[in-house]
Symmetry: C2
Subunit: 188 residues, 2 copies
C-alpha cells in the first residue's frame, strides 16, 4: 500500500469500478456498496456518488462530514454483495464489520475505517450541496488522501496482469459483476 | 438493435463504461467522449455526466435541452480517442461526423444523432440544474428512450461471450482503456 498523488487520484475510479463507502460518527460505523460513483474533478480531486436516503452510511457521513471509498477486487465479491444488501440499521448490538469479520485500518486524515484487502482507498470530505443531496441522493466530496495496492497500481497506472484476484470489479445488478478486463491502447 | 425497457436502462451504464455524448442544435452537431458518467435513478431513469465548460457539445446540449449517449465498444477505441481529443469548435466548415466518416442514425424521441457501431444508446432530456452545471460541470438528465445491440444485451443483461469486439470499454487516461472483462456472480 502506497500513497497516490492527489492529481492522479481520479484514475482509481475513472474506469468505473464499484466501491465500498464507509463512515463513522460518534462510535457508530458502517460500510455499503455503491456502483454509482465517478470522478468529478482532477486537482484538487473531487468525486460524486449516489447514496439512497434509506442508507445508514448516509446518516453517518452527513453527520460526520467525512467518508472513505475502498475499491474492492475480485477476491471480495461476496463481501461486496453482503455489505451491499443488508442495512447496518437492521443490525442490533453489532455492525457489519464485526458481523462479517471485516478487517479495517484507520484513515490518515479523517476518522473512518478503510477495508483491508481492497486495492485502493480514497479519503473524502463532503462538500455540502443540500439541494442535490435531497433531490437526487447525489453527494459531492473532495478527495483529501488516496492510496493503492502497489502490486496493481503504481505511478498513476493500474497493472493487473498476473493478479487476476486483485482486478477491480464492476457491478451490474443482483450480485452480477464484470471484472476489469484486458488493457487496450488507442493508436492515437 | 432493440429497445431496452426504461426500468432496465441503468444497466447499460451501471458497470462504468466510457460513453460518447452527441447533441445537435440549429443544424450544428457534435460528439465527444465522456468517462465520467453514471446512472442516477432507476425508474424513470436518470443519468448524470460531467461535461467541461470548453466542450462544444455542452453548448449544443444546453441550447437544445437534449443529448444522447452512445456506448462504444472495443472495435471503436480509435474513434473514441479521436472524438475525445479534438474539439468540434476547432473544425471549420465540417463536423466530427463528416471528418471521421462516422455513420449515424436519428434518435426516436429527440433530435440528435446516434453513432452506428456502438452497442447501446440512451436518449436524454436535460433536467436544468444551473448551480451544479456552473459549479461542477455536472449535468443531470432523464433517459426517455434506450436501445442496445441484441448480440450483447437482451432481457436486461449484457452477454459479451463470443463477441470480444463488442465488449464495452472503460477509459483510464490518455487513450488507455480496459475492456469489460469476465462475468462473475457472487455466492449470495
Amino acid at each position: 500500500m502506497h500513497s497516490v498523488s492527489l492529481n492522479k487520484a481520479y484514475r482509481l475510479l475513472n474506469h468505473g469500478p464499484v466501491v465500498l463507502i464507509s463512515a463513522r460518527h460518534h462510535g457508530k460505523q458502517n460500510i455499503m456498496a455503491a456502483a454509482w460513483n465517478m470522478p468529478l474533478d482532477f486537482d484538487p480531486p473531487k468525486i460524486t456518488i449516489v447514496i439512497d436516503k434509506s442508507a445508514y452510511t448516509r446518516e453517518l457521513l452527513e453527520a460526520s462530514g467525512t467518508f472513505s471509498l475502498s475499491v474492492p477486487c475480485v477476491a471480495q465479491i461476496d463481501i461486496v454483495r453482503k455489505v451491499g444488501t443488508i442495512s447496518g440499521r437492521d443490525l442490533k448490538d453489532t455492525d457489519k464489520f464485526e458481523r462479517y469479520g471485516l478487517e479495517t485500518f484507520p484513515a490518515k486524515d479523517i476518522d473512518t475505517p478503510l477495508l483491508k484487502g481492497c486495492v485502493a482507498w480514497l479519503e473524502c470530505k463532503l462538500i455540502p450541496e443540500p439541494h442535490i443531496q435531497n433531490t437526487y441522493d447525489l453527494f459531492i466530496a473532495e478527495v483529501v488522501a488516496a492510496y493503492a495496492d502497489e502490486r496493481v497500481f503504481t505511478d498513476g497506472h493500474w497493472h493487473f496482469e498476473g493478479h487476476d484476484d486483485l482486478r477491480t470489479i464492476h457491478h451490474i445488478a443482483g450480485g452480477a459483476f464484470f471484472t476489469t478486463g484486458a488493457a487496450l491502447k488507442s493508436a492515437f
